[in-house]
Amino acid sequence: MSKADAVAAILVAGATLYAVFGGADFGAGVWELLALRSRDRALRERIERRVMLSLGPVWEANHVWLIFTLVVLWTGFPEAFAAIMETLYLPLALAALGIVLRGSGFAFGHTFTAAGAQRANAVFAVSSLITPFFLGCVVGAIAAGEVEAGGTGSPFGWVGPLPIVIGVLFVSSCAYVASVFLLDDCRRAGEDDLEAYFLKRSIAAAVLAGALAAAGLIVLRSDARAIFDGLFDEGLPFVIASALLGLLTLGGLVRGWSRALRPLAIGAVVAVVAGWAVAQYPYLLPETLTVDQGAGDDATLTALIVVFVLALAIVGPALVLLFRLAQRQALD
């Protein structure tokens, strides 16, 4: 493993953590959005409260994984970063817009009362769709080879079947992870009826995400053949693992498992991201820029590895402490 590979692995690790934890936050917003349509006002309020309880302490920390990933990308692989940003500026700017609306909607929803809170919560809920969808489009467009080294690709290359499918897949898998997390939090807090509410929705979301993943494979085959082949070659163990974990979670949901659900759902997402990364390797930008070609200066790569180790040592224990507190709060 070269240094560049190690930094690429760090990048994937950051993206995975964002996909799981940031994704769960977005998914919670998606559930709030769906609940907005419900006529049962008491239920709606309880869901909002549940989301606040579960996300309150952790939402900003979860968001930092995105910053971390961006920074590692531009420092470790500056060429790839520039090409992606210059080509896909439309979906990226929209994703950023979603982040602004979502973060501020969440914060203000916690501050105001009555109508103010309702409006802020609605902003939070709607923008929870925007960011994962457009980030998914970005990933899909990169896979489809729409981003060329040098940033010369078309700014509308992301308007295609693969990016759109991946975008929708991102939204649905966020919702899926979120419902499993929320379900678990409800169980700990003894909110049985909400637990049942999210249980039903977890199963639906799991089926939907699975179906979309399968549809994604079909589009992948026609639009990003190299990655498709990679998935069934080096990536095969991960594909199998993710399918197995997905099925296990589904089975567990149906059979009413409790403790195992959260790790299983996380595992399924991790396996998908890892499989994708392995399939796309050695390309940062298929098929115009490889990890080695795109890597920054050697000393910088070393520095990034050191920073990552430091981050794990410093941030890791603090994050564990925070998650523990957040779990305890789920009991409030």
Partner: protein, 471 residues
């Protein structure tokens, strides 16, 4: 997709450059105010909580709690506007990132650690008001304080690098090789930019927070003897006043650093036309090709300030090729004067407080003092923004001083003016709502409401009250 692409207006580089710069400046200028809060407000909370715990002072503890609630809202807005900046680095300046991302990026990577620390511990601190006992709670605030300083260092070091690029060599094609990440971070400009910005953050928050209480006391005389208001004014004001003289000293060092390292910037904001000794220091006025008009000139002072002797030779614009001079020299000159002028005005305020305290152990009784404090907050913000104008506009036309021109860094993407308009609308709304949110928190607290209730990071209020009519 060819047809779609042709729908976008094709943009000449010059047009894009202006739009991109305005957009960057606007979003940075907005973020930096919230960044100051992130850097300096934790210290104020910690001081108040320290006082509260050591002396069993309920009022001080209460202040710490209130400030942490305001911090929560402002941190959230800081986090989202900061994220926009991270995107903009690439969306607006891809050629710059592509060429130098691996040289200066380490600073941002380190900053990531501080962001995590800040995000995690602010949540623990606020969440912990009811759940973590005694001094242990105070200690959960200390990492936020450290992260503020570290975060400021890492970002500002990157900006310093843009002013004083070090830690790499250029190969024949002009691409950086032999990068030394630490050499890039610890460039000569970091030595003054970082302390200057750190102190500015403490001044903005110190004077700013004090001015909130001063305004309250001016509007309602009953509050003038209320202990909570007096303490709320005194804690941040003391911090800011103590730091002001230090800031002027650091600013003076910065000016000499710029004269040494970036003669074009120095000549720009001092409006020095001809190289030579005995340069006049001009206060105010407009900058023309024949020097400053309508300003107050102090002969020889400029040379004296740069080299402690009127014989010091200072480089003028005559030595700088036309196309390497900074633009808008009158703006630069006035921005510099505004910063320095406000700095001295704040020093006078500090002296006033210091004198009154020395003689009477009390804040001055006159209304004029409260009026001055009420103005000091906005003054500190203006000084800080003016300082950034001096730094950033003064660096032009370079994005990396004397290495890469800004016009070579800008994106070819279309529609930037559209994004700019959108950003103004979005941020104006964001700013307005944030102010409303802060007033809401304050009013709820004034009305004797439970200050532990709600707010981002904190547990939500009891079920049924989030959207209900209960306040």
């Amino acid at each position: 997709m060819g047809e779609l692409t042709s729908l976008l207006p094709s943009v000449p580089v010059a047009d894009n450059l202006l739009a991109a710069r305005e957009l960057m400046a606007f979003t940075l200028g907005f973020h930096i105010i919230l960044a100051c809060v992130g850097v300096a407000l934790p210290a104020m909370m910690l001081i108040a909580e320290f006082k509260g715990r050591r002396n069993d002072d309920e009022v001080a503890l209460d202040l710490a709690k209130r400030w942490s609630k305001a911090a929560a809202v402002l941190f959230a807005v800081g986090a989202v506007t900061g994220t926009v900046l991270s995107f903009e680095m690439g969306l607006l300046w891809p050629r710059f990132m592509e060429r130098f991302g691996d040289v200066f990026g380490t600073g941002f990577a380190i900053e990531g650690i501080f962001f995590f620390t800040e995000a995690i511990f602010i949540a623990i601190y606020i969440y912990g008001w009811k759940r973590i006992e005694g001094w242990k709670h105070w200690w959960t605030g200390v990492p936020i304080f450290i992260a503020g300083i570290g975060g400021a260092f890492s970002v500002v070091a990157v900006n310093s690098w843009m002013n004083q690029p070090r830690g790499y060599e250029l190969d024949a094609a002009g691409n950086p090789i032999n990068v030394e990440p630490l050499g890039a971070l610890f460039n000569p400009a970091t030595a003054y930019e970082f302390p200057h910005m750190l102190l500015a953050a403490y001044m903005v928050v110190g004077f700013g927070l004090a001015s909130v209480y001063a305004i309250g006391m001016l509007r309602n005389p009953a509050k003038r003897s209320d202990r909570r208001h007096r303490l709320g004014l005194l804690i941040p004001l003391t911090v800011a006043c103590v730091l002001t003289p230090v800031q002027l000293f650091v600013g003076d060092t910065a000016a000499r650093g710029v004269a040494d390292h970036q003669p074009s910037k120095f000549a720009g904001f001092e409006c020095i036309q001809e190289t030579g000794p005995d340069q006049t220091e001009w206060i105010g006025g407009i900058c023309t090709e024949d020097g400053v008009k309508y300003g107050i000139g102090i002969p020889g002072l400029d040379s004296f300030l740069v080299g402690f002797s009127t014989d010091t030779v200072v480089t003028g614009l005559d030595q700088i090729p036309e196309d390497e001079q900074p633009p808008a020299k009158t703006l630069l000159h006035l921005a510099f004067d505004a910063m320095v002028g406000i700095g001295f005005a704040l020093l006078a305020l500090a002296a006033w407080l210091g004198f009154a305290w020395w003689r009477k152990r009390d804040i001055p009784k006159t209304k004029w003092f409260l009026r001055a404090v009420a103005l000091s907050g906005i003054g500190a913000v203006i000084a800080m923004e003016a300082g950034w104008v001096v730094t950033e506009v003064g660096r032009q036309p370079w994005i990396v001083y004397e290495v890469m021109r800004t016009e070579d860094a800008v994106t070819s993407a279309g529609g930037l003016w559209f994004w700019f308009g959108g950003a103004i609308l979005l941020y104006a709304t964001l700013g307005t709502v944030a102010v409303f949110a802060l007033r809401r928190i304050a009013r709820r607290q004034e009305a004797g409401g439970d200050i532990d209730r709600g707010g981002p990071y904190a547990p939500p209020p009891e079920a049924g009250t989030t959207t209900g009519a209960a306040r």
